[in-house]
Amino acid sequence: MASATIASATVRAQDAPAPRFAVGDRVRVRATYPLGHIRTPFYVRGRSGVIERLCGVFGNPEELAQMRSGEPRQPLYRVRFLQRDLWPDYAGSPDDVVEVEIYQHWLEPV
């Protein structure tokens, strides 16, 4: 714990990347499967949705989990997916949605 504190105090914070996406933009979640502490659920990888809002800029959890600084920080979005785009046999209303928080480095424009 001590070494992480020292590292984050002495390493100069890098600038976070600017937000690439705006509310309403259509995005696709990258379909990659790295190991580690990943906060992108499997069920949305490779799926497309729409930016619902920008939540702010946060330390990258994949880095933080390794006791590193979390830099560069990542813009975090809420992405809205239609249920029928996630599950082809979805039984509810065609308008039902799931909204998931996803960091920018997991998103690509459609």
């Binding site: 906060r39 992108t40 659920p41 069920y43 939540c55 702010g56 946060f58 959890p61 975090l76 809420r78 249920q83 996630l86 599950w87 979805y90 039984a91 509810g92 209303s93 308008d95 039902d96 949605v97 799931v98 909204e99 998931v100 928080e101 996803i102 960091y103």
Partner: protein, 198 residues
């Protein structure tokens, strides 16, 4: 552990790690036993009444409701509810949209407003089915919604925490905030129930 009469089990790996870390912190004078106990008691003392108060205020004060939906954390602070390290997103139920909350990856939960999560919230079954067949799950909770109501499921995967602002039921006109808060249950704020008159 005191409830474990006659069912003693050896400590699991994580329990052992917790005890070791806690004892080390106390031994090195970083924390005292009293501070650890106070933090545990504080956590236990928090319950869904906090969230219910916020909902009742939003039902009676439209300006507060607007602030709550725009910035949940700040609006709670305004009520003297400290929500440290918590970015609160409040999602509003309407006649057209019903919201429900889940954390598919672990068990993220707005503890500062709702206290400790119920066991079912942390179960693999709820976590996996709530994003796959939310209508079936809600029906098992006794909440059957027509297809004309759109369901929005919120998966708390990262830094945000969510609370559902339920609809104020008809028949509560003129009620005080305290009385309104009494019908707002934990499950209403998770989104697996709606407030009912007693």
């Amino acid at each position: 552990m005191s409830e474990d009469r006659g069912t003693y089990q050896p400590l699991t790996y994580f329990q052992l790690m917790e005890v070791s870390l806690r004892e080390l912190l106390v031994e090195k004078g970083i924390l005292s036993d009293a501070e650890v106990n106070a933090a545990v008691e504080d956590m236990r003392a928090r319950g869904p009444e906090r969230g219910a108060k916020v909902v009742a205020r939003a039902w009676t004060d439209p300006a507060f409701k607007a602030r709550l939906l725009a910035d949940g954390t700040r609006a709670c602070e305004e009520m003297g509810l400290d929500v440290p390290a918590l970015r609160l997103v409040v999602v509003e139920n309407t006649p057209e949209v019903h919201n429900a909350i889940v954390c598919t990856l672990c068990s993220c939960y707005p503890r500062m407003l709702l206290g400790l999560p119920p066991d079912w919230y942390k179960s693999r079954e709820y976590r996996s089915r709530m994003v796959r067949e939310p209508r079936a799950v809600l029906a098992e909770f006794g909440l059957v919604l027509p297809d004309s109501v759109r369901i929005r499921v919120h998966d708390s995967t990262a830094d945000m925490r969510y609370m559902v602002l339920p609809m104020r039921p008809a028949g509560t006109e003129g009620w005080s905030e305290e009385r309104l808060a009494s019908i707002v249950t934990r499950d209403c704020m998770i989104g697996v129930a709606v407030p009912r008159l007693p």
